[in-house]
Symmetry: C2
Subunit: 384 residues, 2 copies
């Protein structure tokens, strides 16, 4: 172990020095990405929002950067491979490096569970993004909550955001359930999503009421249920997950935390796959959730099953509007084509006279900035 | 992004299938490491405790596995590189892959902040390790605690373990401060160290009293202090860190949590660099800490400065023994040569008649199993 430790620590120190030099001499306005390992210079975000990535691979024949698209990297005299991307849209992007066919994460980046593995990520700063940056405001906590699931017969973990001052009073709080996307996990909203920072800032600015936020793991396998042949959309065991959330997690949270345990004070939402899950669970359990949202993902109701789906929930606009306090749908403008079902559903809801909020995140795609902005918007509508 | 998502998810599903086949046919007793990404077969831990690692790098010329030592990997007909290590000692080992000179983490592994970057890790199961495995016992929580440090003029994060039932009573608790090693960070004790699981099991078995455990970040830079030329051992700003812990973190924890805020009910400990820091801080602040431990690391007092170091703390055995409730030193038998200073210090303490506990972890080196066992041992001695 000694060699690895020593090497890595030397690298940490040396790179810190290299950073200062390069910033001073040649790239005065380029900045190391905030998603880099502390003290590491590259990836570097340039003023035109291009990103320069460097990889040390002295004997490789071919190195490619995969950041939204593939960029062949070129080797300099020191054996360092480099590529600069096209200008990027603001927000958080996963990326990978292909070294002679090995598809790996960049050792210069903090890694984030996404795409089904620990992925490199680069944050392109958003102007006016104070809402998702640490401010001088009281901070809540992110807590792990381990629980044994009788349904999956396994230990599971969720994260719970508690608002500032939770431990200093007997106040009871409403609860927002918030689900990650496919290939991500229960860590994603707390890390890539910056949920705690967004909520701290909203609460400090009195833009949102103090609430708990529960981020569970969106995969669940019931060992007593045979896998569906083919798997497909249901590979994650959506039915099982629905049971875990409604039969195990909600009761656990109501028992463990000081919640206001009624439907008006409960919301369920999620992104992409989690948006599909959250809306589907919400529509199935309006006795449990009066507030429902899908970010870049929704369990759509089609023209054909409009009056029958979810026990006729959508059949009568007036009944829906009096029952559901907030229905919120969102997507990024740059993913509109691929996720047209969200827009289609929004149009059908409008035609049917069903109250809802539809938000398009300007200039963002199927990525975390769309979802941070959606959380920021949705949370402000809740429990008021 | 679509391509990455789709690829990775397909890989997740396919590998899940591959796993079943290979286990059935050829490696009946080999098991995917518990540290792998869920559903990924390799690294595979074999019954003789060798580890087989596979890397997909079809066009690479040379791939090497670095797991305690370097193993050249060989390519099979499908372009998959494979190596099987020598038998490993039980416990948690960081490892890396060298692909044509690119030194990267293995995409098949969950990654762990260690060695100054996000490192692959493989867990070699320890027989009789129930103490560090989830059992059917009440679970505490791991909480993030963000705080603004006026000393470093930056936001910092620590993790706080709260014992089961913390929120259900008005009980006040003692506090153990627990520091990571060099190249690791405030996440390490909670992830690699399994602190929450070890404490849950100890408390459930009534082997340890319920306590809070605070895991802070061991690096601190005071922007008003000029860096020491050369850096060396003090690169992490040990003096600044000592100020952060004693002037900011301890008061923060006493203010935020229901602690018993006196020296008898406070302990400080750490591993490797953190052991150096913890003992040094503890010996400097016996007014604050009556319980002190160094795992595989200690701030040693030499023969020369025995009577003067730390304001003469070690000069009078009787005074020391009545003041310090627990002094605990440990190391693994396989690191004894490199960390002889721990044993030397233990011998000097014995000669001087200073009460302490000295523990050698059988068969383990400068690795997490030494430190999990040390936490397991030290925690049982505290606050009784």
């Amino acid at each position: 172990m000694k060699s690895i430790y020593t090497l890595a620590l030397s690298a940490l120190l040396l790179t810190g020095c290299a950073q200062k030099t390069s910033q001073k001499n040649t790239e005065a306005e380029s900045k190391p990405a905030t998603t880099n390992i502390l003290g590491i210079s590259y990836p570097m975000v340039n003023p035109d929002l291009t990103v320069t990535v460097r990889v040390n691979a002295p004997t490789a024949d071919s190195v490619t950067l995969d950041l939204m698209k593939k960029y062949p990297m070129t080797k300099n005299a020191d054996g360092i491979w480099e590529a600069t991307t096209e200008p990027q849209v603001v927000g958080f992007h996963y990326y990978f490096i292909d070294v002679d066919g090995a598809y790996v994460s960049d050792p210069s980046s903090e890694l984030f569970f996404g795409c089904g593995l620990m992925a490199s990520g680069v944050e392109i700063p958003e102007e006016g993004a104070e809402y998702s940056l640490e401010q001088q405001v009281p901070c809540g906590e992110l807590r792990t909550q381990m629980y044994y699931s009788n349904i999956t017969q396994a230990w599971r973990r969720c994260f719970v955001y508690t608002p500032p001052g939770y431990d200093d009073s007997d106040t009871r709080y409403p609860v927002l359930y918030l689900q990650h996307g496919s290939g991500e996990d229960e860590t994603s909203w707390g890390v890539q999503g910056k949920t705690d920072i967004i909520m701290d800032n909203l609460i400090a600015g009195k833009l949102a009421v103090p609430m708990l936020v529960v981020m569970d793991r969106g995969y669940a396998v019931d060992p007593t249920v045979k896998p569906t042949p083919g798997g497909g959309r249901r590979f994650a065991g959506f039915n099982t997950f629905e049971r875990v959330i409604t039969e195990e997690v909600v009761p656990l949270i109501d028992k463990t935390y000081r919640t206001i345990a009624d439907r008006d004070h409960r919301a369920i939402s999620g992104l992409s796959m989690g948006g599909f899950q959250a809306t589907s669970i919400g529509f199935n359990h309006t006795d449990m959730f009066a507030n429902i949202a899908g970010f870049s993902g929704v369990s759509p109701v089609t023209e054909e099953n409009w009056s029958t789906a979810y026990n006729g929930l959508f059949a009568h606009a007036e009944a829906f509007n009096s029952k559901i306090k907030v229905l919120y749908l969102s997507l990024g403008t740059e993913e509109a084509e691929r996720f047209g079902m969200v827009t289609d559903f929004h149009n059908r809801l409008t035609e049917a006279g069903i109250d809802h909020v539809y938000y398009e995140s300007p200039g963002t795609a199927h990525e975390w900035l769309t979802w941070r902005r959606s959380l920021h918007g949705f949370a402000q509508l809740l429990f008021k």
